[in-house]
């Protein structure tokens, strides 16, 4: 991968991958930092990256692992701020639906959230999700099924709560 190819890859995929990692971890700034770092590593390992079948998946996986590691290590170090599940991060006002979705995703188990994001937001087929996560396809199908059900329940709860407030 030469400089021009890398620059094109970076320009074409940075925002997309950042959006996907943001959906996975619920923190926009953290997602952007981790994706940035993942692209630095991608250039550092570009000769090996050339052999990767899906460079974008490599960057996304690297960014996600960086985010998880930073969060875990923050917890382990007992730092006061929990950056990966931190407070408000939006620089512009998001819609209520967006806030509800991000909040619901955060409440899902990590494995279910990752499967949902890769399949429905990154638009990967089940077998690609399975390969990226490193588990059998059946496991991904189960996580998707449980994740969808849990997400629907969480969004319904949120809607019910909002209606209750509006009736009050």
């Amino acid at each position: 991968m030469d400089e021009r190819e890398f620059d094109d890859f970076y320009a074409a995929s940075f925002q997309r991958i950042t959006g996907q990692v943001y959906a996975m971890i619920g923190n926009r700034d953290e997602a952007q930092e981790c994706v940035q770092e993942a692209f630095v590593r991608a250039w550092a390992h570009r000769r090996k990256l050339e052999k990767a079948e899906h460079p974008e998946a490599w960057v996304r996986t690297t960014a996600y692992r960086l985010a998880v590691s930073r969060w875990r290590r923050t917890v382990r170090s007992r730092r006061p701020a929990d950056r990966a599940v931190g407070p408000a991060f939006e620089s512009a006002a998001p819609s209520e639906a967006h806030v509800a979705l991000v909040a619901a995703l955060k409440q899902l188990p990590e494995a279910q959230r990752q499967a949902l994001v890769l399949h429905h937001i990154a638009d990967l087929p089940v077998h690609d999700v399975a390969r990226e996560v490193g588990v059998p396809e059946g496991t991904i199908k189960a996580r998707l099924s449980r994740g969808r059900a849990a997400l629907a329940a969480l969004l319904a709860d949120d809607e019910g709560h909002a209606e209750g407030l509006s009736h009050a």
Partner: protein, 254 residues
């Protein structure tokens, strides 16, 4: 009730004003990272060769280098196999592995000086072989060390565990730190966290009789128990034929 799939598939990132670094800056940082990694690896390699050159030569002539008293075998009648058989499947599960001779430690990964396993002990190994397989990022490293007897192998394993525990206490919460994951009567698993970004080396040392098998993998995700467990499962799966073949080093050889 909202359809969660519609919600997901229309997921957008409102207010997501991206200010990514220019591509040229990303490349500059990547190049710097690559040079730094190479420099660290080179320093580590030179140090490892210097440290082990003499002990290995002495081990080859069956000369003990440690000053500890000789260990007592559990049974005087046991004759331990002290040379690695030529057909030992050390590279099992690693189709692109190449032999590393002499043994070369990943010294740059140690959070504390003298932390990792070394063939010069004490006690010193009497025979050592190592294979290395390079992956997309990092790789897999496997070494088999044979000791004079089972007591010596146990002593080497317990000494490693003691160093890991001591280093883990000293480095808790630091970017470069060590973490003991598990240990039992024949093995230990520990991590070397080498950066704040989650890079780590995961090690497993497994004893059978008078031999130790040492597997190391590099991965991201340090601190995530799922990744640690997945790495361990990979080590166990890939090394299974080698572990089975280690029965030759047991008190009752296969």
């Amino acid at each position: 009730m909202p359809d969660p799939i519609d919600e997901l598939e229309n997921f957008s990132t409102p207010g997501l004003t991206m200010n990514p670094l220019p591509a040229s800056e990303v490349r500059r940082r990547g190049t710097r990272m690559r040079r730094r990694n190479h420099a660290i690896a080179a320093i580590g390699g030179v140090a490892a060769v210097a440290i082990i050159a003499t002990p290995l030569a002495m081990a080859a002539s069956n000369t003990r280098t440690d000053t500890n008293p000789p260990v007592t075998n559990p049974s005087p009648s046991v004759t331990w196999v002290t040379a690695i058989p030529a057909d030992f499947p050390l590279a099992s599960g690693l189709p692109r592995a190449t032999a590393q001779d002499p043994y070369e430690a990943q010294a740059d990964a140690d959070a504390c000086d003298g932390l990792g396993w070394s063939p010069d002990g004490p006690p010193a190994a009497v025979d050592v072989q190592q294979v290395v397989q390079t992956e997309n990022e990092g790789g897999v490293d496997r070494a088999l060390a044979v000791y004079a007897d089972a007591d010596a192998a146990t002593q080497a394993r317990l000494a490693l565990e003691a160093r890991v525990q001591e280093c883990a206490t000293a480095t808790d919460g630091k970017a470069r730190s060590t973490e003991l994951v598990s240990s039992d009567g024949s093995s230990l698993v520990y991590l070397d966290h080498v950066s704040d970004a989650g890079d780590m080396f995961e090690h497993r040392a497994l004893q059978v009789g008078n031999a130790l098998l040492l597997d190391t993998v590099y991965s991201l995700g340090g601190g995530d128990p799922t990744v640690v467990q997945r790495n361990l499962q990979a080590i166990e799966r890939l090394s299974a034929p080698a572990v089975d073949a280690m029965c030759v080093f047991s008190a009752d050889p296969c």
